[in-house]
Amino acid sequence: MTETNTRTPAPAFLETYIREQRKKKAILLMTHIVMGYPSFDACFEIVRQMVDAGVDLMELQIPFSEPMADGPVILKANQAALDSGATVEKCFEFAQKVSDRFDIPFLFMTYGNILYKYGMDAFAARMSEIGVKGAIVPDLPPEEANDYLSAMKKHDLSAVFIFSPETSDQRMKMIDTHATGFIYCLARKGVTGKETQFSSDMGNYLARCQKSTRLPTAVGFGVKEKADIDFLMGKADIAVVGSQTIREVAQNGVNATGPFIRSLIE
């Protein structure tokens, strides 16, 4: 592979990368896969097609047996991946392969226990070694994140935190002081993979999010078609498409990935 600027250390890297990309595009696209679902080989092909179609960042989910914040689609993908033998080690190997091969930043998404069992520091060291730029861990709010934050900081990784419509302004500011890279704004209540109303209410909420952070913002949960992404332009820096790509692959096969992504951004 060619040594690219994605090798620059995060967290400065991730934020800088997003701001640079934004000079070229009105909104960036981040996608989500569950590693090992439907198989690691299929995942590799999905990533290849996504990058080829112009995805700017990717979340690689390490499957967990108790994915509390995930809805039916991602929950089933987590289970299927574990049932077919996905392990944390295999996920690291996969992440290394894609980050060596493709020139976009990759992040891990998983639950606290996966990092905790591996050892916070060892986990962060391994991330840094294989070139993964940051992590989103929905069950580690800042109050419970001391060890996680010091490990991420030590290894120059971005710790992405979450804003929700229920988060007060005051709390958003507190979260912002701990976050690096970008802020992940939940489009609504609930779990992943359900319907979302892209309305003026959401516009107000997203303005509140932008005002409360010094970082770029990403919006996820229920983003599934071009109209949603168009709505988010000017209101956020990154649109996140999660469950819908998993649905596409389940319904139309791996080769539907590229065309689906193109339909979102063209």
């Binding site: 967990f64 047996s65 108790e66 994915p67 509390m68 914040a69 809805g71 929950l75 089933k76 289970q79 574990l82 392990t87 944390v88 639950y111 606290g112 226990n113 996966i114 905790y116 069992k117 591996y118 929905p138 069950d139 580690l140 709010p141 800042p142 109050e143 419970e144 935190f161 979450i162 804003f163 929700s164 419509p165 229920e166 988060t167 007060s168 709390r171 507190m174 979260i175 939940l186 209540k189 609930g190 779990v191 359900k194």
Partner: protein
């Protein structure tokens, strides 16, 4: 009080508390919450603190339990079992005599009063054995709340009578088909409902687990067991017991009993599900086996039965209510501090304890509770006749008729079920 806005209360109580560790018992506990639920938990915590500080709340709770749920429950002297073992005097704390037949009512009615204060109109709950589900359904009926119960598909099958009653009481029972399809999966599903509907809905968690303040709150409501038991034994015997025994699923009935004797020279013994034996790997013993390790799941930190990657394992127990991967962070801390001792009883020992108790005392403990009986029976004979033990009978066993009939291989029951099935087929 309803005019004070919940966020204001939360702000008042939470002032300056950001980044401070909340709800920790040594290294156990915490609140590993998805961001979307943080505000809901702040409100719940604030309301709970308010109730805990208000002695009228506890009085209202005791009155409700006395008039609706048969409290104080008796402490029964088990004369025949005492004679049979020839050692310690055996007393049984009769939580089975609560309305709906288990200690679960204590927690549920307490949380129900809190829900009324919060002004919410819908309750959800997980259930394993179905006892907590039935208790929640009765509370919802009494207080006029909508009610949805999440129950693993495996448990729906093994606790059908309770499913029937929940539905008759007006609750919607949702069988959970994900994961291992038992208690932990029902908890995940209840959380998924809550992150969507928290504005209108309270999640009545059924045991002393989960994110702060649940372990503390559930234990507080259950402490009524230990308070009564201590007063009752002092009245009956004029002295404290040597040991008290309780079964441990999530840990709520054990916490309830233990709290009565926390500052006393009384040995606290928790009995976990040994399933088919620790060596078989098919069990749910988190504190007394080496198979569990420190982890974070379902919003809290404790000992979990998990593999080296941190994936939760399948558990096994003859009793649905003890068939759980985690355990109360408060008990985990008491275990590490050696403030309580933890043992296990196997499925076989449990059925033997049930048979003996039925024959000797005319009492039918739930299979969950039979773990405490089995644990006590192993020790009673080796104690002196001056010793006293109390066994917490957390629930009554008639709900387990299908499981027990299978375990006993009762031919007449089988015949009856076949005949009944035949009748339905002809309908």
């Amino acid at each position: 009080m309803e005019t004070i806005n919940a966020t204001q209360i939360a702000n008042h109580f939470m002032k300056g508390r950001y980044m401070k560790h909340r709800g920790y018992y040594g290294p156990f506990g915490g609140a590993f919450l998805p961001e979307i639920l943080v505000a809901t938990f702040e409100e719940l915590d604030a309301r709970f603190r308010q109730a805990k500080a208000d002695k009228h709340f506890w009085e209202e709770y005791e009155t409700l339990m006395a008039t609706y749920s048969c409290r104080p429950t008796p402490l029964t002297y088990a004369e025949n079992l005492t004679r049979h073992f020839g050692g310690a005097k055996i007393y049984i704390k009769r939580e089975d005599l609560n309305h709906t037949g288990a200690h679960k009512a204590n927690n549920v009615m307490g949380q129900g009063l809190l829900v009324k204060r919060m002004g919410k109109k819908r309750v959800i709950a997980e259930t394993g054995a179905g006892q907590h589900g039935v208790a929640t359904a009765t509370m919802a009926a009494k207080f006029g709340f909508d009610c949805t119960i999440y129950m693993g598909e495996v448990d729906v099958l093994r606790q059908r009578p309770n499913v029937f009653w929940m539905e008759q009481l007006g609750a919607t029972v949702v069988p959970v088909t994900d994961g291992t399809r038992i208690l932990k999966d029902a908890i995940n599903e209840a959380f998924r409902d809550w992150v969507t509907n928290m504005d209108t809905t309270h999640y009545v968690l059924g045991t002393a687990c989960g994110p702060h303040p649940f372990p503390e709150m559930v234990s507080w409501f259950q402490s009524i067991i230990g308070k009564e038991a201590r007063a009752q034994i002092m009245k009956a015997e004029g002295r404290l017991p040597t040991k008290v025994f309780a079964c441990v699923g999530g840990g709520s009935n054990a916490m309830g009993l233990f709290q009565g004797f926390m500052d006393d020279p009384v040995e606290l013994v928790g009995v976990e599900a040994g399933g088919e034996g620790i060596a078989s790997g098919r069990h749910a013993s988190r504190l007394c086996s080496d198979d569990a390790s420190f982890g974070i799941a379902q919003g809290y930190k404790t000992y979990f039965l998990q593999n080296s990657d941190g994936q939760m394992k399948e558990t096994h127990s003859i009793s649905a209510g003890l068939d759980y991967v985690g355990v109360s962070p408060i008990l985990a801390h008491m275990h590490d501090q050696e403030k309580a001792r933890f043992e296990y009883a196997t499925d076989t020992e449990v059925v033997d304890a049930l048979k003996l108790t039925m024959r000797m005392e005319g009492i039918i403990p739930a299979l969950e509770s039979c773990h405490a009986f089995a644990g006590a029976f192993k020790e009673a004979a080796n104690m002196s006749t001056d010793d006293i033990i109390i066994i917490n009978q957390s629930g009554r066993g008639d709900k387990d008729i299908f499981t027990v009939a299978d375990a006993l291989g009762d031919p007449k029951w089988k015949e009856f079920i076949c005949a009944k099935a035949g009748e339905y087929k002809n309908d």
